[in-house]
Protein backbone atom coordinates (compact mmCIF):
# COMPACT_ATOMS: atom_id res chain seq x y z
CA UNK A 1 0.00 0.00 0.00
CA UNK A 2 2.73 2.35 1.02
CA UNK A 3 4.80 1.42 -1.99
CA UNK A 4 1.86 2.12 -4.26
CA UNK A 5 1.56 5.59 -2.81
CA UNK A 6 5.21 6.40 -3.33
CA UNK A 7 5.12 5.19 -6.90
CA UNK A 8 2.14 7.34 -7.66
CA UNK A 9 3.75 10.43 -6.23
CA UNK A 10 6.86 9.86 -8.31
CA UNK A 11 4.78 9.82 -11.49
CA UNK A 12 2.84 12.81 -10.23
CA UNK A 13 6.04 14.79 -9.72
CA UNK A 14 7.16 14.02 -13.25
CA UNK A 15 3.77 14.98 -14.66
CA UNK A 16 3.75 18.18 -12.66
CA UNK A 17 7.19 19.13 -13.96
CA UNK A 18 6.13 18.25 -17.48
CA UNK A 19 3.01 20.38 -17.30
CA UNK A 20 4.96 23.35 -15.97
CA UNK A 21 7.07 23.31 -19.13
CA UNK A 22 5.18 25.43 -21.64
CA UNK A 23 6.87 24.23 -24.82
CA UNK A 24 6.42 20.60 -23.79
CA UNK A 25 2.70 21.18 -23.22
CA UNK A 26 2.40 22.76 -26.65
CA UNK A 27 4.22 19.76 -28.14
CA UNK A 28 1.93 17.39 -26.30
CA UNK A 29 -1.19 19.25 -27.41
CA UNK A 30 -0.07 19.14 -31.04
CA UNK A 31 0.70 15.41 -30.76
CA UNK A 32 -2.77 14.75 -29.35
CA UNK A 33 -4.38 16.73 -32.17
CA UNK A 34 -2.30 14.85 -34.74
CA UNK A 35 -3.24 11.52 -33.18
CA UNK A 36 -6.93 12.47 -33.33
CA UNK A 37 -6.51 13.48 -36.98
CA UNK A 38 -4.82 10.16 -37.71
CA UNK A 39 -7.52 8.14 -35.93
CA UNK A 40 -10.46 9.95 -37.47
CA UNK A 41 -8.85 10.49 -40.88
CA UNK A 42 -11.76 8.98 -42.81
CA UNK A 43 -14.28 11.22 -41.07
CA UNK A 44 -12.19 14.37 -41.39
CA UNK A 45 -11.21 14.09 -45.04
CA UNK A 46 -13.42 16.38 -47.11
CA UNK A 47 -12.82 14.21 -50.20
CA UNK A 48 -11.41 10.75 -50.77
CA UNK A 49 -7.63 10.98 -50.91
CA UNK A 50 -7.51 9.16 -54.25
CA UNK A 51 -10.46 10.98 -55.84
CA UNK A 52 -9.34 12.73 -59.01
CA UNK A 53 -11.21 15.80 -60.18
CA UNK A 54 -10.02 16.39 -63.75
CA UNK A 55 -11.90 19.68 -63.96
CA UNK A 56 -9.91 21.08 -61.04
CA UNK A 57 -6.23 20.41 -61.66
CA UNK A 58 -3.73 22.66 -59.85
CA UNK A 59 -6.38 24.62 -57.99
CA UNK A 60 -4.58 27.07 -55.70
CA UNK A 61 -5.42 27.05 -51.96
CA UNK A 62 -8.78 28.57 -51.07
CA UNK A 63 -12.06 27.96 -52.83
CA UNK A 64 -13.69 24.54 -53.04
CA UNK A 65 -10.52 22.73 -52.17
CA UNK A 66 -9.21 24.36 -49.01
CA UNK A 67 -5.52 23.68 -49.60
CA UNK A 68 -5.78 23.30 -53.36
CA UNK A 69 -5.41 20.26 -55.63
CA UNK A 70 -2.45 18.47 -57.17
CA UNK A 71 -1.59 17.50 -60.75
CA UNK A 72 -4.31 14.83 -60.78
CA UNK A 73 -6.93 17.07 -59.20
CA UNK A 74 -6.69 15.33 -55.84
CA UNK A 75 -7.55 17.35 -52.75
CA UNK A 76 -4.34 18.28 -50.92
CA UNK A 77 -5.99 18.61 -47.51
CA UNK A 78 -7.48 15.11 -47.65
CA UNK A 79 -4.14 13.71 -48.71
CA UNK A 80 -2.37 15.50 -45.86
CA UNK A 81 -4.90 14.17 -43.36
CA UNK A 82 -4.53 10.60 -44.55
CA UNK A 83 -0.75 11.07 -44.80
CA UNK A 84 -0.76 12.02 -41.13
CA UNK A 85 -1.98 8.53 -40.30
CA UNK A 86 0.72 6.92 -42.46
CA UNK A 87 3.51 9.03 -40.95
CA UNK A 88 2.41 8.55 -37.35
CA UNK A 89 1.85 4.81 -37.74
CA UNK A 90 5.26 4.27 -39.31
CA UNK A 91 6.98 6.69 -36.94
CA UNK A 92 5.53 5.25 -33.75
CA UNK A 93 5.76 1.58 -34.63
CA UNK A 94 9.23 1.73 -36.12
CA UNK A 95 10.51 3.40 -32.95
CA UNK A 96 8.81 0.78 -30.78
CA UNK A 97 10.38 -1.94 -32.91
CA UNK A 98 13.81 -0.30 -32.66
CA UNK A 99 13.48 0.01 -28.91
CA UNK A 100 12.41 -3.62 -28.54
CA UNK A 101 15.23 -5.03 -30.66
CA UNK A 102 17.84 -2.60 -29.37
CA UNK A 103 16.63 -2.90 -25.80
CA UNK A 104 16.81 -6.69 -25.87
CA UNK A 105 20.33 -6.64 -27.33
CA UNK A 106 21.44 -3.99 -24.85
CA UNK A 107 19.96 -5.95 -21.94
CA UNK A 108 21.77 -9.11 -22.86
CA UNK A 109 25.05 -7.26 -23.45
CA UNK A 110 24.87 -5.22 -20.28
CA UNK A 111 23.59 -7.96 -17.99
CA UNK A 112 25.86 -10.82 -19.00
CA UNK A 113 28.96 -8.77 -19.82
CA UNK A 114 32.19 -10.53 -20.76
CA UNK A 115 32.33 -12.35 -24.08
CA UNK A 116 28.63 -11.87 -24.87
CA UNK A 117 28.93 -8.15 -24.31
CA UNK A 118 32.08 -7.97 -26.40
CA UNK A 119 30.46 -9.81 -29.32
CA UNK A 120 27.32 -7.68 -29.29
CA UNK A 121 29.29 -4.46 -29.02
CA UNK A 122 31.57 -5.36 -31.93
CA UNK A 123 28.47 -6.22 -33.94
CA UNK A 124 27.05 -2.79 -33.10
CA UNK A 125 30.33 -1.15 -34.13
CA UNK A 126 29.89 -2.71 -37.55
CA UNK A 127 26.19 -1.94 -37.63
CA UNK A 128 26.72 1.73 -36.86
CA UNK A 129 29.33 2.08 -39.58
CA UNK A 130 26.53 2.18 -42.12
CA UNK A 131 24.53 5.42 -41.88
CA UNK A 132 21.01 4.57 -40.70
CA UNK A 133 19.32 6.03 -43.76
CA UNK A 134 21.54 4.07 -46.14
CA UNK A 135 20.86 0.92 -44.16
CA UNK A 136 17.12 1.64 -44.24
CA UNK A 137 17.35 2.14 -48.00
CA UNK A 138 19.15 -1.16 -48.50
CA UNK A 139 16.66 -2.90 -46.23
CA UNK A 140 13.60 -1.50 -47.90
CA UNK A 141 15.01 -2.55 -51.26
CA UNK A 142 15.14 -6.09 -49.86
CA UNK A 143 11.84 -6.03 -47.97
CA UNK A 144 9.84 -4.21 -50.60
CA UNK A 145 7.19 -1.51 -50.42
CA UNK A 146 4.30 -0.94 -48.04
CA UNK A 147 3.66 0.30 -44.54
CA UNK A 148 4.62 -2.88 -42.59
CA UNK A 149 7.79 -3.32 -44.66
CA UNK A 150 8.82 0.29 -44.11
CA UNK A 151 8.24 -0.08 -40.37
CA UNK A 152 10.44 -3.18 -40.45
CA UNK A 153 13.21 -1.46 -42.43
CA UNK A 154 13.26 1.66 -40.27
CA UNK A 155 12.83 -0.29 -37.04
CA UNK A 156 15.72 -2.64 -37.66
CA UNK A 157 18.06 -0.01 -39.07
CA UNK A 158 17.50 2.36 -36.14
CA UNK A 159 18.03 -0.08 -33.28
CA UNK A 160 21.74 0.42 -32.52
CA UNK A 161 21.36 3.64 -30.53
CA UNK A 162 18.80 2.01 -28.22
CA UNK A 163 21.04 -1.00 -27.71
CA UNK A 164 23.96 1.17 -26.60
CA UNK A 165 21.76 3.21 -24.35
CA UNK A 166 20.13 0.19 -22.68
CA UNK A 167 23.52 -1.43 -22.15
CA UNK A 168 24.85 1.74 -20.55
CA UNK A 169 22.00 2.12 -18.10
CA UNK A 170 22.01 -1.57 -17.21
CA UNK A 171 25.69 -1.50 -16.44
CA UNK A 172 25.13 1.24 -13.89
CA UNK A 173 22.15 -0.58 -12.34
CA UNK A 174 23.73 -4.03 -12.31
CA UNK A 175 25.84 -3.36 -9.24
CA UNK A 176 22.94 -1.98 -7.17
CA UNK A 177 22.04 -3.66 -3.90
CA UNK A 178 18.52 -4.61 -4.89
CA UNK A 179 19.86 -6.63 -7.82
CA UNK A 180 22.26 -8.35 -5.48
CA UNK A 181 19.34 -9.05 -3.16
CA UNK A 182 17.29 -10.49 -6.00
CA UNK A 183 20.20 -12.73 -6.92
CA UNK A 184 20.66 -13.75 -3.31
CA UNK A 185 17.09 -15.07 -3.15
CA UNK A 186 17.84 -17.05 -6.33
CA UNK A 187 15.75 -15.06 -8.77
CA UNK A 188 16.44 -16.35 -12.27
CA UNK A 189 18.04 -14.07 -14.87
CA UNK A 190 14.91 -13.48 -16.92
CA UNK A 191 12.95 -12.54 -13.83
CA UNK A 192 15.66 -10.16 -12.61
CA UNK A 193 15.94 -8.49 -16.02
CA UNK A 194 12.19 -8.10 -16.53
CA UNK A 195 11.12 -7.20 -12.99
CA UNK A 196 14.07 -5.36 -11.51
CA UNK A 197 16.36 -4.06 -14.22
CA UNK A 198 14.07 -2.90 -17.00
CA UNK A 199 11.71 -0.83 -14.81
CA UNK A 200 14.75 1.01 -13.48
CA UNK A 201 16.40 1.51 -16.85
CA UNK A 202 13.32 2.47 -18.81
CA UNK A 203 13.15 6.24 -18.33
CA UNK A 204 16.08 7.22 -20.58
CA UNK A 205 14.68 4.79 -23.13
CA UNK A 206 11.30 6.50 -23.07
CA UNK A 207 12.91 9.90 -23.56
CA UNK A 208 14.95 8.59 -26.45
CA UNK A 209 11.89 7.00 -28.01
CA UNK A 210 9.85 10.18 -27.87
CA UNK A 211 12.64 12.02 -29.65
CA UNK A 212 13.15 9.10 -32.01
CA UNK A 213 9.62 9.38 -33.38
CA UNK A 214 10.40 12.77 -34.91
CA UNK A 215 13.54 11.41 -36.48
CA UNK A 216 11.70 8.35 -37.79
CA UNK A 217 9.06 10.57 -39.41
CA UNK A 218 11.85 12.52 -41.13
CA UNK A 219 13.35 9.25 -42.36
CA UNK A 220 9.99 8.07 -43.69
CA UNK A 221 9.63 11.28 -45.65
CA UNK A 222 13.16 10.93 -47.03
CA UNK A 223 12.44 7.37 -48.11
CA UNK A 224 9.17 8.49 -49.65
CA UNK A 225 10.91 11.34 -51.41
CA UNK A 226 13.39 9.06 -53.17
CA UNK A 227 10.60 6.71 -54.19
CA UNK A 228 10.89 4.02 -51.53
CA UNK A 229 8.56 3.28 -48.64
CA UNK A 230 4.85 3.53 -49.21
CA UNK A 231 3.64 3.03 -52.80
CA UNK A 232 1.29 5.41 -54.64
CA UNK A 233 -1.55 6.33 -54.47
CA UNK A 234 -1.27 6.18 -50.67
CA UNK A 235 -0.48 9.76 -49.71
CA UNK A 236 2.84 9.79 -47.88
CA UNK A 237 4.15 13.27 -47.11
CA UNK A 238 7.61 12.68 -48.61
CA UNK A 239 6.16 11.14 -51.74
CA UNK A 240 3.72 14.07 -52.04
CA UNK A 241 6.71 16.43 -51.94
CA UNK A 242 8.45 14.40 -54.61
CA UNK A 243 5.39 14.57 -56.84
CA UNK A 244 4.83 18.27 -56.21
CA UNK A 245 8.44 19.02 -57.05
CA UNK A 246 7.78 18.68 -60.78
CA UNK A 247 5.24 21.49 -60.66
CA UNK A 248 6.86 23.81 -58.18
CA UNK A 249 7.47 26.59 -60.68
CA UNK A 250 3.77 27.40 -60.89
CA UNK A 251 2.24 25.52 -57.98
CA UNK A 252 4.65 26.11 -55.12
CA UNK A 253 2.03 25.24 -52.51
CA UNK A 254 2.30 21.58 -53.53
CA UNK A 255 5.83 21.61 -52.11
CA UNK A 256 5.46 24.10 -49.28
CA UNK A 257 2.37 22.68 -47.55
CA UNK A 258 3.40 19.01 -47.09
CA UNK A 259 6.77 20.26 -45.83
CA UNK A 260 5.08 22.40 -43.20
CA UNK A 261 3.06 19.37 -42.09
CA UNK A 262 6.30 17.43 -41.60
CA UNK A 263 7.96 20.30 -39.71
CA UNK A 264 5.00 20.70 -37.33
CA UNK A 265 4.79 16.98 -36.59
CA UNK A 266 8.51 16.47 -36.04
CA UNK A 267 8.78 19.62 -33.97
CA UNK A 268 5.91 18.54 -31.71
CA UNK A 269 7.62 15.24 -30.96
CA UNK A 270 10.98 16.94 -30.38
CA UNK A 271 9.51 19.52 -28.00
CA UNK A 272 7.65 16.83 -26.10
CA UNK A 273 10.79 14.69 -25.92
CA UNK A 274 12.86 17.60 -24.63
CA UNK A 275 10.24 18.35 -21.99
CA UNK A 276 10.01 14.71 -20.94
CA UNK A 277 13.78 14.53 -20.56
CA UNK A 278 13.84 17.62 -18.36
CA UNK A 279 10.93 16.33 -16.30
CA UNK A 280 12.41 12.89 -15.73
CA UNK A 281 15.87 14.11 -14.96
CA UNK A 282 16.19 17.81 -14.13
CA UNK A 283 19.97 17.43 -13.86
CA UNK A 284 20.25 16.78 -17.57
CA UNK A 285 18.65 20.08 -18.46
CA UNK A 286 20.77 22.07 -20.89
Amino acid sequence: MKRQNRKKSQAAIVMKRLFRNKTAVIGMAVIIILLLIAIFAEQLMPYDYAFQDYYALFQPPGGDYLLGTDHLGRDLLSRLIYGCRISLVIGLFSVILSALIGGALGCVAGYYGGMTDNLIMRFLDVYQSVPAFVLALAMSSVFGYGVPMTILALGISGMSGYARMMRGSIMTIKGAEYIEAARAVKGNDLHIILKHIIPNAISPMIVNMSMGVGNAILMVSMLGFVGMGVPAPTPEWGAMLAAGRNYMRDSGYLVVIPGIAIVITVMAFNLFGDGLRDALDPKLKD
Binding site: D125, P131, V134, S141, V142, I262, V263
Partner: protein
Protein backbone atom coordinates in the same frame (compact mmCIF):
# COMPACT_ATOMS: atom_id res chain seq x y z
CA UNK B 1 50.14 9.58 -30.96
CA UNK B 2 51.24 7.93 -34.19
CA UNK B 3 50.75 4.59 -32.47
CA UNK B 4 47.21 5.52 -31.52
CA UNK B 5 46.32 6.58 -35.06
CA UNK B 6 47.88 3.43 -36.47
CA UNK B 7 45.88 1.32 -34.05
CA UNK B 8 42.73 3.15 -34.99
CA UNK B 9 43.40 2.60 -38.71
CA UNK B 10 44.06 -1.10 -38.16
CA UNK B 11 40.81 -1.37 -36.20
CA UNK B 12 38.99 -0.16 -39.33
CA UNK B 13 39.90 -3.34 -41.20
CA UNK B 14 37.74 -5.76 -39.16
CA UNK B 15 34.96 -3.17 -39.14
CA UNK B 16 34.97 -2.95 -42.92
CA UNK B 17 35.10 -6.73 -43.27
CA UNK B 18 32.12 -6.87 -40.92
CA UNK B 19 30.22 -4.20 -42.84
CA UNK B 20 30.69 -6.03 -46.12
CA UNK B 21 29.46 -9.22 -44.49
CA UNK B 22 26.42 -7.46 -43.01
CA UNK B 23 25.37 -5.72 -46.21
CA UNK B 24 26.12 -8.73 -48.41
CA UNK B 25 24.04 -11.01 -46.21
CA UNK B 26 21.20 -8.49 -46.20
CA UNK B 27 21.20 -8.06 -49.97
CA UNK B 28 21.47 -11.85 -50.45
CA UNK B 29 17.86 -12.12 -49.34
CA UNK B 30 16.56 -9.74 -52.02
CA UNK B 31 13.57 -11.48 -53.55
CA UNK B 32 13.07 -11.80 -57.28
CA UNK B 33 14.90 -13.39 -60.15
CA UNK B 34 17.56 -11.03 -61.52
CA UNK B 35 18.20 -13.20 -64.61
CA UNK B 36 14.51 -13.06 -65.52
CA UNK B 37 14.50 -9.31 -65.00
CA UNK B 38 17.58 -8.77 -67.14
CA UNK B 39 16.69 -11.12 -70.01
CA UNK B 40 12.94 -10.63 -70.14
CA UNK B 41 10.05 -13.06 -69.95
CA UNK B 42 10.82 -14.79 -73.25
CA UNK B 43 14.33 -15.98 -72.31
CA UNK B 44 15.00 -19.72 -72.47
CA UNK B 45 16.05 -21.80 -69.48
CA UNK B 46 19.53 -22.25 -70.96
CA UNK B 47 20.00 -18.51 -71.41
CA UNK B 48 18.99 -17.90 -67.79
CA UNK B 49 21.34 -20.59 -66.53
CA UNK B 50 24.17 -19.13 -68.58
CA UNK B 51 23.44 -15.64 -67.22
CA UNK B 52 23.39 -16.94 -63.65
CA UNK B 53 26.71 -18.73 -64.19
CA UNK B 54 28.21 -15.60 -65.69
CA UNK B 55 27.25 -13.53 -62.64
CA UNK B 56 28.22 -16.29 -60.21
CA UNK B 57 24.64 -16.71 -59.01
CA UNK B 58 24.72 -20.50 -59.35
CA UNK B 59 27.08 -20.78 -56.39
CA UNK B 60 26.33 -20.97 -52.70
CA UNK B 61 26.30 -18.08 -50.23
CA UNK B 62 29.80 -18.59 -48.81
CA UNK B 63 31.46 -18.96 -52.21
CA UNK B 64 29.79 -15.77 -53.42
CA UNK B 65 30.74 -13.93 -50.26
CA UNK B 66 34.35 -15.08 -50.59
CA UNK B 67 34.44 -14.04 -54.25
CA UNK B 68 33.02 -10.67 -53.31
CA UNK B 69 35.77 -10.10 -50.74
CA UNK B 70 38.34 -11.20 -53.30
CA UNK B 71 36.88 -8.78 -55.82
CA UNK B 72 36.93 -5.84 -53.42
CA UNK B 73 40.62 -6.43 -52.70
CA UNK B 74 41.18 -5.71 -56.39
CA UNK B 75 38.64 -2.89 -56.30
CA UNK B 76 36.16 -4.93 -58.31
CA UNK B 77 32.53 -4.60 -57.27
CA UNK B 78 31.19 -6.78 -60.07
CA UNK B 79 29.05 -5.58 -62.95
CA UNK B 80 25.60 -4.08 -63.04
CA UNK B 81 22.73 -6.48 -63.74
CA UNK B 82 20.96 -4.06 -66.01
CA UNK B 83 23.66 -2.78 -68.35
CA UNK B 84 26.73 -4.86 -67.56
CA UNK B 85 28.91 -1.82 -66.82
CA UNK B 86 31.63 -2.21 -64.20
CA UNK B 87 30.37 -0.84 -60.87
CA UNK B 88 33.81 0.13 -59.62
CA UNK B 89 34.36 2.44 -62.59
CA UNK B 90 30.94 4.00 -62.16
CA UNK B 91 31.53 4.55 -58.45
CA UNK B 92 34.97 6.00 -59.11
CA UNK B 93 33.56 8.62 -61.46
CA UNK B 94 30.64 9.50 -59.15
CA UNK B 95 32.26 9.41 -55.75
CA UNK B 96 34.13 12.75 -56.06
CA UNK B 97 30.80 14.57 -56.44
CA UNK B 98 29.42 12.95 -53.30
CA UNK B 99 32.56 13.86 -51.35
CA UNK B 100 32.48 17.42 -52.69
CA UNK B 101 28.84 17.96 -51.73
CA UNK B 102 29.31 16.24 -48.37
CA UNK B 103 32.41 18.18 -47.37
CA UNK B 104 31.07 21.56 -48.48
CA UNK B 105 27.90 20.85 -46.52
CA UNK B 106 29.95 19.93 -43.47
CA UNK B 107 32.03 23.12 -43.71
CA UNK B 108 28.91 25.25 -43.96
CA UNK B 109 27.19 23.38 -41.13
CA UNK B 110 30.16 24.00 -38.84
CA UNK B 111 30.67 27.58 -39.99
CA UNK B 112 27.03 28.40 -39.26
CA UNK B 113 26.43 26.16 -36.26
CA UNK B 114 29.34 27.06 -33.98
CA UNK B 115 29.03 30.86 -34.20
CA UNK B 116 25.27 30.60 -33.70
CA UNK B 117 25.79 28.53 -30.58
CA UNK B 118 28.46 30.90 -29.27
CA UNK B 119 26.23 33.88 -29.92
CA UNK B 120 23.31 32.26 -28.11
CA UNK B 121 25.46 31.28 -25.13
CA UNK B 122 27.13 34.67 -24.71
CA UNK B 123 23.73 36.36 -24.84
CA UNK B 124 21.97 33.79 -22.68
CA UNK B 125 18.31 34.54 -21.88
CA UNK B 126 18.12 37.54 -24.18
CA UNK B 127 16.07 37.81 -27.36
CA UNK B 128 19.15 36.83 -29.40
CA UNK B 129 19.38 33.54 -27.52
CA UNK B 130 15.66 32.87 -27.88
CA UNK B 131 15.76 33.64 -31.58
CA UNK B 132 18.75 31.35 -32.16
CA UNK B 133 17.16 28.52 -30.20
CA UNK B 134 13.80 28.88 -31.92
CA UNK B 135 15.65 28.78 -35.24
CA UNK B 136 17.53 25.61 -34.34
CA UNK B 137 14.30 24.00 -33.18
CA UNK B 138 12.77 24.71 -36.55
CA UNK B 139 15.78 23.48 -38.51
CA UNK B 140 16.08 20.19 -36.60
CA UNK B 141 12.46 19.41 -37.35
CA UNK B 142 12.80 20.26 -41.01
CA UNK B 143 13.55 17.73 -43.74
CA UNK B 144 16.71 18.95 -45.48
CA UNK B 145 15.42 18.12 -48.93
CA UNK B 146 12.35 20.24 -48.35
CA UNK B 147 14.52 23.24 -47.45
CA UNK B 148 16.46 22.62 -50.68
CA UNK B 149 13.24 22.73 -52.67
CA UNK B 150 12.00 25.87 -50.95
CA UNK B 151 15.32 27.60 -51.59
CA UNK B 152 15.23 26.54 -55.24
CA UNK B 153 11.72 27.93 -55.52
CA UNK B 154 12.78 31.23 -54.08
CA UNK B 155 16.33 31.82 -55.30
CA UNK B 156 16.31 29.94 -58.60
CA UNK B 157 12.79 30.13 -59.89
CA UNK B 158 11.62 33.44 -58.44
CA UNK B 159 14.83 35.50 -58.33
CA UNK B 160 16.87 33.57 -60.89
CA UNK B 161 20.13 33.97 -58.97
CA UNK B 162 21.30 30.38 -59.14
CA UNK B 163 20.75 27.54 -61.62
CA UNK B 164 17.98 25.07 -60.80
CA UNK B 165 20.00 21.90 -61.24
CA UNK B 166 23.24 20.64 -62.70
CA UNK B 167 26.84 20.32 -61.62
CA UNK B 168 29.07 22.21 -64.06
CA UNK B 169 30.00 25.41 -62.19
CA UNK B 170 30.42 26.43 -58.57
CA UNK B 171 27.11 28.26 -58.73
CA UNK B 172 25.33 24.91 -59.01
CA UNK B 173 26.63 23.86 -55.62
CA UNK B 174 25.48 26.94 -53.69
CA UNK B 175 21.91 25.89 -52.96
CA UNK B 176 22.44 22.17 -52.28
CA UNK B 177 25.32 22.81 -49.90
CA UNK B 178 23.91 25.89 -48.18
CA UNK B 179 20.45 24.37 -47.72
CA UNK B 180 21.77 21.08 -46.37
CA UNK B 181 24.49 22.77 -44.33
CA UNK B 182 22.23 25.29 -42.64
CA UNK B 183 19.71 22.53 -42.01
CA UNK B 184 22.21 20.34 -40.22
CA UNK B 185 23.91 23.20 -38.36
CA UNK B 186 21.05 23.26 -35.85
CA UNK B 187 22.25 20.31 -33.79
CA UNK B 188 25.77 21.71 -33.75
CA UNK B 189 24.48 25.09 -32.58
CA UNK B 190 22.48 23.55 -29.75
CA UNK B 191 25.41 21.53 -28.51
CA UNK B 192 27.77 24.50 -28.80
CA UNK B 193 25.42 26.59 -26.72
CA UNK B 194 25.06 24.05 -23.94
CA UNK B 195 28.75 23.21 -23.71
CA UNK B 196 29.63 26.92 -23.78
CA UNK B 197 27.21 27.53 -20.91
CA UNK B 198 28.89 24.76 -18.99
CA UNK B 199 32.36 26.30 -19.17
CA UNK B 200 31.39 29.96 -19.19
CA UNK B 201 31.10 30.09 -15.39
CA UNK B 202 34.29 28.18 -14.67
CA UNK B 203 36.90 29.82 -12.48
CA UNK B 204 39.51 30.01 -15.21
CA UNK B 205 37.14 32.10 -17.30
CA UNK B 206 36.65 34.53 -14.42
CA UNK B 207 40.43 34.61 -13.98
CA UNK B 208 40.94 35.38 -17.64
CA UNK B 209 38.42 38.18 -17.45
CA UNK B 210 39.96 39.52 -14.22
CA UNK B 211 43.39 39.78 -15.77
CA UNK B 212 41.90 41.87 -18.56
CA UNK B 213 41.80 39.50 -21.49
CA UNK B 214 39.76 40.67 -24.44
CA UNK B 215 36.22 39.23 -24.38
CA UNK B 216 36.72 37.77 -27.84
CA UNK B 217 39.82 35.93 -26.75
CA UNK B 218 38.00 34.57 -23.69
CA UNK B 219 35.07 33.35 -25.73
CA UNK B 220 37.05 31.57 -28.41
CA UNK B 221 40.23 30.46 -26.64
CA UNK B 222 39.08 29.81 -23.11
CA UNK B 223 35.46 28.76 -23.43
CA UNK B 224 34.99 27.32 -26.88
CA UNK B 225 38.19 25.33 -26.93
CA UNK B 226 37.39 23.68 -23.62
CA UNK B 227 33.83 22.94 -24.61
CA UNK B 228 34.80 21.54 -27.98
CA UNK B 229 34.71 17.80 -27.25
CA UNK B 230 30.94 17.35 -26.93
CA UNK B 231 30.53 19.59 -29.98
CA UNK B 232 32.83 17.34 -31.98
CA UNK B 233 30.86 14.32 -30.80
CA UNK B 234 27.69 15.89 -32.12
CA UNK B 235 29.40 16.71 -35.41
CA UNK B 236 30.54 13.09 -35.62
CA UNK B 237 26.99 11.94 -35.03
CA UNK B 238 25.68 14.32 -37.65
CA UNK B 239 28.00 12.98 -40.32
CA UNK B 240 25.80 9.94 -40.90
CA UNK B 241 22.86 12.23 -41.29
CA UNK B 242 24.82 14.54 -43.53
CA UNK B 243 25.93 11.79 -45.87
CA UNK B 244 22.34 10.58 -46.22
CA UNK B 245 21.25 14.17 -46.78
CA UNK B 246 23.81 14.76 -49.50
CA UNK B 247 22.62 11.61 -51.29
CA UNK B 248 19.12 13.06 -51.39
CA UNK B 249 20.24 16.53 -52.44
CA UNK B 250 22.21 14.98 -55.33
CA UNK B 251 18.94 13.47 -56.44
CA UNK B 252 17.19 16.86 -56.31
CA UNK B 253 19.85 18.78 -58.20
CA UNK B 254 20.76 15.99 -60.64
CA UNK B 255 24.35 15.97 -59.43
CA UNK B 256 25.78 12.71 -60.80
CA UNK B 257 26.95 11.33 -57.45
CA UNK B 258 26.45 8.09 -55.58
CA UNK B 259 22.92 8.98 -54.47
CA UNK B 260 21.40 9.04 -57.94
CA UNK B 261 23.20 5.81 -58.82
CA UNK B 262 22.06 4.04 -55.68
CA UNK B 263 18.41 5.08 -55.96
CA UNK B 264 18.35 3.95 -59.58
CA UNK B 265 19.91 0.66 -58.54
CA UNK B 266 17.21 0.15 -55.94
CA UNK B 267 14.42 0.89 -58.39
CA UNK B 268 15.84 -1.51 -60.97
CA UNK B 269 16.54 -4.20 -58.36
CA UNK B 270 20.17 -4.03 -59.38
CA UNK B 271 21.57 -5.80 -56.32
CA UNK B 272 25.33 -5.43 -57.01
CA UNK B 273 24.92 -1.69 -57.55
CA UNK B 274 23.08 -1.20 -54.24
CA UNK B 275 25.57 -3.46 -52.49
CA UNK B 276 28.58 -1.64 -53.93
CA UNK B 277 27.20 1.80 -53.11
CA UNK B 278 26.32 0.79 -49.55
CA UNK B 279 29.77 -0.68 -48.97
CA UNK B 280 31.56 2.36 -50.38
CA UNK B 281 29.41 4.77 -48.35
CA UNK B 282 30.08 2.74 -45.21
CA UNK B 283 33.83 2.84 -45.82
CA UNK B 284 33.61 6.60 -46.48
CA UNK B 285 31.74 6.99 -43.20
CA UNK B 286 34.36 4.93 -41.31
CA UNK B 287 37.15 7.12 -42.67
CA UNK B 288 35.35 10.31 -41.65
CA UNK B 289 34.76 8.94 -38.17
CA UNK B 290 38.46 8.13 -37.97
CA UNK B 291 39.31 11.70 -38.91
CA UNK B 292 36.90 12.99 -36.25
CA UNK B 293 38.62 10.84 -33.64
CA UNK B 294 42.01 12.18 -34.67
CA UNK B 295 40.74 15.75 -34.57
CA UNK B 296 39.61 15.07 -30.99
CA UNK B 297 43.17 14.51 -29.92
CA UNK B 298 44.38 17.65 -31.70
CA UNK B 299 41.70 19.88 -30.20
CA UNK B 300 41.97 18.52 -26.70
CA UNK B 301 45.23 16.88 -25.67
CA UNK B 302 43.49 15.50 -22.60
CA UNK B 303 41.58 13.14 -24.89
CA UNK B 304 44.79 11.62 -26.18
CA UNK B 305 45.85 10.30 -22.80
CA UNK B 306 42.30 9.24 -22.07
CA UNK B 307 42.00 7.29 -25.30
CA UNK B 308 45.38 5.65 -24.96
CA UNK B 309 44.61 4.60 -21.42
CA UNK B 310 41.21 3.27 -22.50
CA UNK B 311 42.73 1.17 -25.23
CA UNK B 312 45.28 -0.15 -22.74
CA UNK B 313 42.55 -0.96 -20.26
CA UNK B 314 40.53 -2.80 -22.90
CA UNK B 315 43.56 -4.85 -23.73
CA UNK B 316 44.11 -5.73 -20.09
CA UNK B 317 40.48 -6.70 -19.64
CA UNK B 318 40.66 -8.83 -22.73
CA UNK B 319 43.62 -10.71 -21.34
CA UNK B 320 41.75 -11.47 -18.16
Amino acid sequence: MAKYILKRILWMIPIIIGVIFLVFTLMYFTPGDPARNALGMTATEEAIEAWNAEHGLDQGFWVRLFNYYKGILHFDFGTSYTNGVSIAGEILSRFPYTILVGMLTLVIAVAVGIPTGVLAATHQNTWIDNLCMAGTMFFTAMPGFWFCLVMVMFFSLRLGWTPVSGYETWRHYIIPCVAMGVGSSAGIARQTRSSMLEVIRQDYVTTARAKGQKERNITYNHCLRNGMIPILTVIGGFLAFLISGSLVSEQIFSIPGMGVYMFKGIQQKDVPVVLGCTVVIAIYFCVIMLVTDIVYTIVDPRMKTAMISISKKVRKDGKK
